[in-house]
Subunit: 196 residues, 4 copies
């Protein structure tokens, strides 16, 4: 299995670094190879083409990302707690890897439709986690029963994504994890005064 060989991870980590530092469009394969300490040709022993590096990068990193979120949310009891843990873990993980944050929030969005479609399919499991929490919340009687699941999912993901993107564009000058409670509160209770 190529994915377990050291050079596979070496190249992916180099790609994250190179893209974060140089931007998507200045990240030539040769630059990634150099940073990874391998020859250009070696890249093609582990990846089908340049796009495959990027898809694999996203799969690898988001796989771990989502797995961690699954674990953490499962350690909580109620949907509300799970949702808070999801927000926290989402922010924590991207906080912990600034390069990755830049790559996922800014650089990888510059990719073409085809690549973006693949990236979206990697995100599917994450959306499933959100869906499950919503369902749980409804069953528990915590959340309103007549919620449009798709819209809710879009609100949650859109809010988190926009929040992280803004933080990255502000060059990560504040602590985003500190905002988890407030974001969670906005999602659960909205803007209105009457909620508590």
């Amino acid at each position: 299995m190529k994915k377990n060989k050291p050079k596979y991870k070496q190249i992916i980590d180099a790609a994250v670094e190179v893209i974060a530092e140089n931007g998507y469009h200045s990240s030539q394969v040769s630059k990634i190879a150099k940073k990874a300490g391998v020859a250009d040709g070696t890249i093609y022993l582990y990846f089908k083409n340049k796009e495959d590096i990027l898809v694999s990068l996203f799969q690898e990193k988001m796989g771990q990302f989502i797995e961690k979120i699954e674990q953490e949310t499962n350690s909580r009891q109620t949907a509300e707690e799970k949702l808070l843990k999801l927000v926290e873990t989402h922010f924590e993980q991207l906080s912990a890897d600034h390069h990755l944050a830049i790559v996922t929030q800014l650089e990888l969005r510059q990719s073409n439709k085809d690549l973006r479609q693949k990236i979206n399919s990697v995100l599917k499991p994450y959306l499933n986690v959100i869906d499950a929490i919503i369902s749980e919340g409804v069953e528990e009687g915590l959340f309103r029963p007549n919620l449009d699941r798709r819209l809710v999912r879009q609100m949650i993901f859109g809010t988190l994504d926009e929040t992280v993107t803004n933080w990255v564009m502000k060059e990560q000058r504040y602590n985003i994890v500190d905002q988890a409670h407030e974001v969670h509160s906005l999602i659960v209770h909205g803007l209105a005064r009457s909620s508590q």
Copy 2:
């Protein structure tokens, strides 16, 4: 003023069409020139470079977009009503111009960091509109007083943006305007049962 000459708008409209139909990466300057019915070189009498076409496109179209939202929201009394009108008008306008929806939600995101920064500055007035509504809501006592304005703005914009993007990616097969009330409700009251 170049912006008022007919060819200026002609080129911008051609750009929207070409990008919507061919995608960002297949939208060469020559293709835009052809669609606009001018020579390649003529483009450069009206725009500094290719990026300038895209920025101008966004300014022109978003300028109208935001102006319309300002007008519509101002015709409402309370912050809650204004917010609903904002969501509705946001959805209506993109619903009314499918090409523009594709360009703003999908294609222009493939641009590089530099261009995206400029695009963001065009969005600034929109964010100000949102901010004003929030402030109003707080003053009216409708919204919670201790809201983090930036986070709220990100929740609102992120939710709308994600909702529209999903609609575009689903090839606009459903009526997004129908969802305005539900989205508004989610923003104002959140997921929780206890809100009304």
Copy 3:
């Protein structure tokens, strides 16, 4: 019509020179452009791709080559005289353009199957000229009536081609035109002292 613009011929002539001097595999597009005195990109205003330069080169040069042979053979009366004129003109023309001789006899044969197929179709009119002369000779009663036309054509073309190729590979150190009569004699009368 691009074929009549000066740069079209300029590029083709440069290609003949570059290929003759550097060999097929060392004839990069950039080298041809440089020799032609144009930018690399200009090549692609006149030719679809590299292969198209080579096919066009062959069409252009062989078109003239074959036309000349048609003219010259038509100025003769009998099939035998026509055949002699054909051999002479074939040798004369390649003698007169050493670069072209190298390109057609050696370098262009290194091309892939696809290109060679196209090259063969350019040669078709030449084979038709040969066929016509054979038919004429048979009708005149000069040539044997039961000849297998295809085989005869292959003998004639194969003999001329092999003769020229050998001359080119011997670096054109002797006068091939001097051999026209002898080659013609071999084709018409064969090896035998006296046939009956």
Copy 4:
């Protein structure tokens, strides 16, 4: 002697197959190694480089080819009979090995000048066989005494080569051996109804 080890022949036979099936330009060393059932590196224990495989292939196969022709022609008495046997044996052998026919007539011609020069030197003994038959024919009084040996050799080889190449390009859809007599007749007696 490496040439007698089993892997040597194994690799050459693999090369013939791979080239016949995939074409010259798609016949990578790794593909030949795989077909031969050895590792890529093993190739280089038996051959200096890729070109050496091809030269060796030609030497090996043409060696047998020519040897067979020498034997067969020697079993005949007169130069004319020998020539007929040469034509027949030439056709028969390539008829019997379609892969080899494709490789020698089409694929190996795509090689560069350097390789083609080496290939030509492998053909030298064959040309000598032809020369000997011509000399014999002249001595016997069967062939004209003032023949230009080189031209005759080129006529004979050019005719055979062109005939076989056409047959291969027509995908070997007819029986080329059937044409040996006619080809022989053309070589010996030419086109003319009656020479004197």
